[in-house]
Subunit: 251 residues, 2 copies
């Protein structure tokens, strides 16, 4: 009896989706989840995500919540959901939480990772999960540039002009860049933690950093670009496929 | 002038192919390579692989060779080939070798790896690259079982009856099994090195070992199964998608 609030940790391959948020004409992660949950629980379910991810962006750790009046065994619910959902989406963890928990509003910080394959030819195995840069990247210069972005700033230079919110200030807590050996490839991995992100913020910052890494922009120029609050000064928006939502913290 | 022998190391995602070897009605890796090379070199090219891989099997390190009378810059050839080929296939290395080099006949040993995702729900990112086993696997028991397969044996129990060659003896040099942390998942990785393999040999051995790992077969039964030389005694042929050709040695 009574309303229950269910929190789930999910992961998804975003390649074939128009992003997280429900849309009328295109498949989205939210719509997939709502259809499956509504089918299983036999009542209309509305899912809230910790944040939108854009079309083609992946998630290794996305948090959602929804309310239901139905009694359900949570292990069985997760099992049914994984059976019913497309194999692009998996539910990793399911728990009942306080009614006040809200996947987006309760979130304290988010973490994204961006994967770059830095070699002269593409990989069949990372073609959907990493962005190929054939010129050799200077990691130290990119670290130097990333350092200017850490802290609380107006990130207007690094977002979609049309979707800039009233308050474009965000706080980046960590922004790292390193070469990392994966079983099949060596990748350049960028990790960014912030309280929240503006629309496209990670991808525009990355487009700018990759200009630095390939010698087309001096690291200290990133400081100037940040201060102009002018999107036209920053680099391009890099491909969605290299971007993964990797953590959402509620503490 | 004169004939040249070119050796290439390639990798491929085998999901959408009917295996390595050319077939009249289905797309294969060999056909893709021959069409692309024939286009670039403007002469009919016949490609030899180190061995066939079955439909759906992947390769991180497959070796091919072909002969050409055309003069060509090898860097440029590799670059053109990577541009022309499907993004399921990449050329990693290209070199000219002695005319006597033959990708299959010169090969001394091969290595395959098999990836198992051992958890209660599937992964969107490994759905094409690992086989899901939901019951907890006993690694030590599988190691014990694998030990009986190392050495020179008649592997008739572990091959397709119809394609058993006159001499079904092969020598396994190494057969390991361990849990390994991948960036996104922890996988069970099997590594098998042998002078050569019978048709489906790795997949039938794996199907048998997974029965041991999930407690449905005693490790020492594998010794008995090997000695019967009877395919019906062994376990099922596991899914192709978890199998990767990972090395071919010429020394």
């Amino acid at each position: 009896m009574g309303e229950k609030n269910i929190k789930m940790v999910i992961e998804y391959d975003g390649t074939n989706y128009a992003g997280f948020q429900r849309q009328s004409k295109h498949p989205t992660i939210q719509a997939e989840l709502e259809i499956a949950l509504t089918t299983i629980l036999r009542e209309k379910i509305k899912v809230t995500g910790s944040g939108r991810t854009d079309a083609g962006v992946h998630a290794l750790y996305q948090v959602i919540n929804f309310k239901t009046t139905k009694d359900c065994n949570l292990n069985r619910l997760q099992y049914s959901l994984n059976s019913l959902l497309s194999d692009d989406i998996s539910v990793k963890k399911t728990e009942e939480v306080n009614l006040s928990f809200h996947a987006r509003r309760s979130a304290v910080w988010r973490e994204y990772k961006y994967f770059v394959l830095n070699k002269s030819y593409p990989s069949p195995f990372f073609k959907k999960y990493a962005y190929l840069v054939t010129s050799e990247l200077d990691i130290e210069k990119m670290k130097e540039a990333a350092h200017f972005l850490i802290g609380t700033h107006d990130f207007s230079s690094f977002t979609v002009l049309a979707s800039r919110p009233e308050n474009p200030e965000r706080t980046i807590y960590e922004f790292t860049c390193e070469r990392k050996d994966f079983p099949v490839e060596r990748l350049v991995v960028f990790k960014i933690q912030a309280n929240a992100f503006l629309h496209n913020m990670v991808r525009v910052m990355l487009g700018t950093l990759l200009k630095v890494g390939s010698g087309n922009l001096a690291p200290e120029e990133v400081k100037r670009i940040l201060e102009t609050r002018d999107r036209t000064q920053a680099g391009p928006t890099v491909a969605a496929k290299g971007l993964f939502l990797t953590y959402v913290s509620y503490e």
